[in-house]
């Protein structure tokens, strides 16, 4: 909704300072808030961006070494491969002793994959019921997970927990029956994922109200790389 107000000089200068990144943080935040509401102000910033981008043309063009492209390609497209392959870890699996004889299966999930998820990489023992398919990327902390068994009763939910050593469980979020959800491991916990334990608990809708598991733990398994 542009209005036709002519912005005062002051705003144009502020826009330039904002685009250049010269504003002190507090001012920049205040300016961002205005930007969300004033399209005329956004136009000012775009105009400055266009002008300043011309300065970038002062920089001489330099062809980057081919290795850069390969690295970019690998980072973007290799995500289709399971992260443990990229890491050279062989295969990661969640195994170990399982509560109630149930298992979490780590599955090859490529999260850029537009096709239906491949379902053939189950790594659990034959006699265990598959509860969830989970893949983790220790680098980015991304977790993709799908609850495939032990669906919750009405009014209940399934919550995924990360347990590192003797620390209290940390919630990674809720699992959805038959739906692939994307969760994240908090940054400070990413370093020590191997050997940590994942668990699924039964919780009220919306998840544990206390921040700790309140219902039965339905399945657990160690994250291992083998």
């Amino acid at each position: 909704m542009s209005d036709e107000t002519e912005y005062p000089d002051e705003d144009s200068v502020l826009a330039a300072e904002y685009v250049l990144g010269l504003m002190p943080a507090a001012e920049a935040q205040a300016f961002s808030r205005r930007l969300m509401q004033e399209s005329g102000l956004r136009d000012l910033c775009d105009t400055w961006s266009e002008h300043f981008a011309e300065l970038a043309n002062e920089a001489e063009e330099v062809r980057p070494p081919a290795a850069i492209w390969h690295a970019i390609e690998a980072r973007i497209f290799e995500r289709r491969k399971p992260f443990w392959r990229r890491l050279g870890l062989g295969q990661a699996l969640i195994g170990g002793a399982l509560a109630a004889g149930l298992a979490l299966a780590v599955l090859r999930l490529g999260w850029l994959e537009p096709e239906p998820l491949p379902l053939n990489a189950q790594l659990t023992a034959e006699d265990t019921q598959e509860v969830a398919r989970i893949a983790l990327d220790p680098d980015s902390g991304e977790v993709v997970a799908e609850l495939v068994g032990l669906f919750p009763d009405p009014g209940r939910a399934r919550e995924l927990w990360l347990i590192q050593g003797d620390n209290a469980p940390v919630s990674l979020g809720l699992l959805e029956p038959g739906v692939v959800v994307s969760l994240a491991v908090p940054q400070d916990l990413r370093a020590a994922l191997a050997g940590a334990v994942l668990a699924i608990s039964d919780e009220p809708t919306g998840g544990s109200p206390t921040g700790q598991p309140t219902g039965a733990v339905l399945a657990t398994g160690a994250i291992t790389a083998s």
Binding site: A25, C45, F52, A53, E54, I76
Partner: protein, 206 residues
């Protein structure tokens, strides 16, 4: 929604923006649109067409080859991830690409200049804003010879004031750094640069 921008005369025809190479701009627009749909071929074509420019910019900002190479990687990963937020017609595609590269490189440069407290969160905010705004003034800007124009306008400034603008854009210099460099108090520096920006704007809208 007519826009009146400080003497920018709105022009009627939309895509005459790049007299120097309208085809290339149109191509970039198309490429970005395809990249936003995760089209790998388009992405490698985009890289082939633009990487020398963006790498040159990263080198210019970072003055370090290894850092610039890392930065370039990050920049293209961002471009891949955020292409769908690029809105055709808001700013030129090359401006968007340059802004992503510039802001990332500046961010790296500032981090490696330890002890410098530049503003913390602005870099991405600027990109986000470029991405999320409604259709904007790209169409309404008369931009013939824009490059020559800003250079000419900078030339009208006292030399060191023009340098200060370049330093802010191409080196990500903060007011504190500029003040130290030109040996003036911080507030003077800010007044000084703001005045330069005003003159620039006046000149650019002539």
């Amino acid at each position: 929604m007519p826009l009146v921008l400080f003497g920018w005369r709105p022009i009627v025809s939309i895509r005459q923006a790049n007299e120097d190479d309208p085809v290339a701009q149109q191509d970039l627009d198309d490429l970005l649109a395809r990249v936003s749909m995760a089209d790998r071929a388009a992405f490698s074509q985009l890289y082939a067409q633009t990487s020398a420019k963006l790498f040159g910019l990263c080198l210019r900002i970072l003055h370090d080859r290894a850092q610039a190479e890392d930065a370039l990687q990050e920049v293209y990963v961002k471009i891949w991830q955020r292409a769908e937020a690029y809105q055709s017609g808001r700013v030129r595609p090359m401006t968007w690409l340059m802004t992503v590269a510039r802001n990332h490189a500046i961010d790296v440069a500032r981090k490696s200049r330890s002890g410098v407290s530049g503003k913390a969160d602005g870099d991405d905010t600027v990109i986000d804003r470029l991405e999320t705004s409604d259709p904007g003034p790209a169409e309404t800007l008369a931009r013939k010879d824009e490059r020559a124009r800003i250079e000419a306008c900078l030339d009208e400034l006292v030399a060191e004031r023009a340098d200060a603008v370049r330093l802010a854009y191409l080196d990500g210099a903060s007011y504190a750094e500029l003040a130290a460099r030109f040996a003036v108090p911080l507030n003077t520096m800010r007044t000084w640069l703001r005045r330069s920006l005003l003159s620039l704007r006046a000149c650019l809208s002539r």
